[in-house]
Symmetry: C2
Subunit: 685 residues, 2 copies
């Protein structure tokens, strides 16, 4: 667990501190000093009394009491050092930079376990091993460079890969992204991404905490914790984006060789991120673009004004926004004409607002004011302004900066001439601003954020279910597939509609049953083998009179000893499934049946339990959603009933986690209901 000594240590020792700044023990010491660490600083180096001007002890045992230890010594020496520090020096925070632990071999894994046990025993915190360290606004405990300028409004970066954190910061700094903290969790021996997020959630202060969190993860070990704290932070007003890599088969092998952990199932990760409201990014560049957008006020709708002095990039951005589900709506009316009159001839304001290569800073001001105050159908502005190729653009970027301070709507600066107007961009960035070098990458990222749903509510009502009955069926069941009777009992107890049927040799009972099941019905004789041949099957039974008449007639058929009634269903085949994952718990999947699952893989998944509204969200994202809505005069599937069934299955597997997998395939959905026709449930206790 995170300790105060890790975040804000009063004293730090670098064990393995060195004068050689090309070694981790040298660089981290230099960074601590450069980063103006205000507390006591010590070094342990068996050969030196002073390292980089800092007092060095020959042995850990000689140290005074110290809050936080950064270890840059060979793996095999770590356990002893940790033991002494934890037990004798009251050290409650450890950052182990060294590699050679469980990522390397079993021997290393043993050392790692030993260290964790020691630190756990004193209630200390451990970051790493096999990491680049920690960067907070109290100290720069990393051995790499560059070290970004730390800023309380900047982003918090938590990374499962040290080098990736380094590269993310390198790329982000170039776009003006500021950082508030960076945690490289390495092997996550004691604390991983989940624990850091937990700390950020629990220590969140609406007045002072930074609001953008970025994650790089290959393996999610504690999905429930991640979900809980990520969604809690987002509900508190934070915004979170994450790269989760290793999703492909080859990528999973790569991740496994990288961290020694198997990558989490990509479907499960997708479901988790959706539920939490995390924006999932592919790669560093996209993560930094999303982070840049997060540094701006939120766009409250989907309507963007594209403001430009160059037609081409505006067309490309408009394509990107439109294709990504946002809009660049037409701007017209008196106010638009008024704006046009302030621009040079040949300009257009219909959106994109193109004020030409000759456009001036003053004109940009008019445009941004009009978008902010006059055009109600605009939620935000993307301003594309590079070099016109002729003159500097300091004045334009100044106006942009000024308008960004006052505009009620967010303004995003896209600067496509990052080479030729570098001086202007540097000045803009020095004011704390972020910019975007490519309009299409910006547009794609903005759409990705727009399409990421809000986190699901922390609490929602579970549906009414006969929990006692569910437990009774499951407790009495063996491992393996349930019998039809058990399946019926479970579905009924969970309130999931299924095709109803019944058998009787009594006319009144049959009539009663028919009323319960509802019309239309199929009636079949019980007894004869070739039922149809003997007139023993009647479809489309629509009223009591027919039930009675057919009952009487059919009971006369040779060998018949009873009559079976079954609900006569029609509709579109849909599918609901559930599957248990050791880490993620149950995923519930839904989609259309048949080829939609098997060929087109048109399936969406959520983590159980789901609210009905989350289930609706999944259904609406299906590629085949139009079929559910009813296309070309076809009967729709009752979406609400479909969502309810999904929600009820997600509740069922929470009550009966022994369900290892289940398939309702198909359910038949029509405008009135969605009813399971065939089901398979496998128990694994």
């Amino acid at each position: 667990m995170i300790t105060k000594q890790l975040i804000e240590p009063k004293s730090i020792v670098v064990v393995g501190g060195s004068d050689d700044i090309h070694k981790p023990g040298g660089t981290v010491l230099r960074n601590l000093q450069d980063g103006n660490f205000k507390g006591e600083l010590y070094v342990v180096n068996p050969k030196m009394d002073e390292v980089q001007g800092v007092k060095s002890y020959r042995d850990v045992k000689d140290l005074p009491q110290v809050d936080c230890a950064i270890l840059a010594i060979a793996a095999k020496f770590c356990p002893t050092a940790v033991e002494v520090l934890a037990k004798q020096k009251n050290t409650k925070a450890f950052i182990i930079l060294s590699a050679g632990f469980h990522e390397e071999n079993e021997e290393g894994a043993k050392l790692e376990r030993q260290i964790v046990d020691t630190i756990d025993s004193v209630g200390g915190a451990l970051i790493g091993p096999n990491c680049i360290g920690v960067l907070t606004n109290h100290y720069s405990g990393v051995f790499t460079s560059p070290i970004p300028e730390l800023n309380p409004q900047g982003v918090d970066l938590i990374s499962g890969s040290g080098a990736t954190a380094l590269f993310i910061m390198d790329s982000g700094m170039q776009k003006g992204i500021k950082f508030n903290s960076m945690y490289s969790v390495g092997n996550s021996a004691q604390m991983g991404v989940e624990e850091i997020l937990e700390y950020m959630d629990e220590s969140f202060d609406p007045e002072t905490s930074s609001r953008v969190k970025l994650l790089y993860v290959e393996s999610i070990e504690k999905p429930e914790k991640l979900l809980k704290h990520a969604s809690s932070l987002i509900r508190k007003g934070c915004r979170i984006a994450a790269v989760k890599s290793g999703g492909s088969a080859a990528g999973s092998r790569a991740a496994s060789s990288h961290t020694g952990a198997l990558a989490s199932s990509d479907v499960a990760v997708e479901a988790l991120f959706r539920k939490a409201g995390i924006v999932r990014c592919n790669g560093r560049d996209e993560l930094m673009t999303v982070a840049g957008i997060f540094m701006h006020p939120e766009v409250k709708g989907k309507n963007m004004a594209v403001v430009t002095h160059a037609g081409g990039p505006a067309v490309m951005l408009t394509d990107a926004l439109s294709n990504g589900g946002m809009d660049v709506p037409h701007i017209e009316g008196e106010k638009a004409k008024e704006l046009l009159s302030k621009l040079f001839g040949g300009s257009s304001v219909g959106n994109p607002i193109d004020f030409l290569a000759t456009g001036t800073a003053e004109q940009l001001g008019f445009i941004l004011d009009a978008c902010d105050k006059d055009f109600d159908n605009i939620d935000g502005m993307a301003v594309i302004f590079g070099s016109p190729g002729l003159f500097p653009v300091f004045d334009v970027y100044n106006v942009l900066d000024e308008k960004m301070k006052t505009s009620k709507k967010p303004i995003f600066p896209i600067f496509p001439s990052s080479k030729i107007v570098k001086a202007e961009i540097d000045e803009f960035v020095s004011k704390g601003r972020v910019y975007f070098p490519d309009e299409v990458l910006f547009g794609n990222a903005l759409c990705k954020i727009y399409k990421t749903p809000a986190p699901q509510p922390e609490h929602f009502d579970m549906p009414d279910m006969d929990v006692k009955k569910i437990r009774e069926v499951v407790d009495n069941a063996q491992n393996g597939y349930l019998s039809p009777e058990e399946i019926h009992a479970l579905l009924d107890a969970a309130g999931v509609a299924r095709a109803k049927e019944g058998v009787s040799d009594n006319e009144e009972e049959i009539v009663k049953m028919a009323k319960e099941i509802g019309f239309p019905l199929v009636m079949k004789v019980v007894g004869p083998i070739h039922k149809s041949d003997v007139g023993g099957v009647v479809m489309n039974v629509n009223d009591e009179e027919t039930v009675r008449r057919e009952f009487k007639r059919m009971m006369q058929i040779k060998d018949t000893y009873a009559i079976m009634l079954a609900q006569q269903l029609s509709g579109t085949q849909v599918f609901i499934g559930a599957k248990r994952d050791d880490k993620f718990g149950h995923m519930v999947l839904c989609g259309l049946g048949g080829i939609f699952i098997e060929v087109l893989k048109d399936v969406k998944a959520g983590l159980a339990p789901m609210s009905k509204s989350e289930a609706h969200g999944l259904i609406k994202e299906l590629k085949s959603y139009k079929i559910i809505q009813g296309v070309r005069g076809q009967e729709p599937v009752n979406e609400d009933k479909f969502a309810e069934a999904v929600m009820r299955i997600s509740a069922l597997v929470k009550v009966a986690p022994e369900i290892f997998e289940m398939d309702l395939n198909p359910l038949l959905g029509n405008k009135d209901n969605v009813v399971a026709v065939d089901a398979r449930i496998r128990i694994e206790k």
Copy 2:
């Protein structure tokens, strides 16, 4: 048309040349001088005798004979200047930078037409108006900066948007992309992207011409010309990538307001690019990434080795390659073990090949040699090497450069620390190298190139068709929908299988017909209204004996005066359509029928005519292709017959271009054949 005077002028006049280098007339003159233009240089400026040290004439009339004129004067003065230059000064090349022509209003359009007429009348060439100019290795005729270092091995850039060309060069130069030429075609009044490409094709010299062409276009006015010369260039060994923007509805409006032209249909553009073998890019960044890959030798297969000193980016790249259809295959065996023994403990060679943050330049050399010589299942190497955070990496990038010179397999350098090791990257780039800052953007671009098909062959055999019959039917047809008989005649003449039928009252004729149509057959009485009720419909007729017996029986049925035979078909519904576009000619579309078209939009389109192999290519790209192959025991659709039908329809519409649109919907496809069951053809002459 392009003239020698445009490419390699012996003399150039800047009309409107100025001392003010913040004006186009000033900057272009400076650029010409900075670019070491070797010929005679003049200026026309009514107020000056010398401008920037160059002799200035007060009037165009005073000029000596001059090859090429660059105009930077107001639009209204251009026609007269052009008239004098073309008629009196033997000027054969014009670059008009000025705006205010057809992109602005009808008056401007008139001026533009006047200029084109004048230039056409002397066989001259015109670039623009409303452009930033031309950059060749003979002169720098642009008014913007930056001007990239020109290099005969660099890329040729042709852009419909001047500012976009500028931004593309800005972004490309930062990644080390070299340029050989740049043409900003502006309004394309006389020459557009198509004509420049035509020139590059016709003047192509395998010894000296550069091999990478990049296009930015919003509107394709002459698709046939573009197709012809782009595919010809690619067949000669060039590689072409293009951004075609304005594809979305809002983007099309934006493009229209930008260039005054309606954007081309995105489906048609997709079809054109596929046929030509052009890699379609979304945006500048992707275009530059693809261009960077083009500057390397071609990857001959889909198997990449990912070589890295940092796990995270390798995992992300592996994901990107796998998800994009390429592979990062496992590497094992003796040679792999040998390589591993040369790396530090903890390294892995299974691919990704991770030689750790401490990995050295020498080790990188071993790895690249092994990939090149020992690992047969590797087609190319992507090397991810940023800053380890501790020391410079000059030696690593040197080894990379050396190995790139000797390796038979392409090596792609991905440098994720573009800020911290900028000095090293600058040195690498100064050797003529290109690098990639983001592994995921690189991986996506590599996959995009891998998936772009080769250009279709220039010549291929058209199928045997009864062209005379086709012309006869079409010539005799009115505008509007064809009758069933006309449709049958056209399909038969084109050799497209359709459900066959025939009617006779003669037993021998019926038997003959049955043999022609083929079994199974449906037989129906002709005459009675309720055919089934009177026993007048027989399915599954499988042999001659049954035909004779049923014929005799059925002819006895009351009111029957003849018997109809029809092919009894079963199979999967597929779809073929064709549609004429004013500019692109006919597009032929194919896919599965029903919801696949209407809901899932799973349709692929090609430009007519298509070879069978192109048709196969389209079919294989359908999302529902697995259904055509036969999924889960379902009967497949005969892909070859499907492709043949697509090919034949594409030939039919070439022979009968009066066909405005046609739909074969559905055709029924089974393992033996694909047969049109219903068809609609509309003629518009």
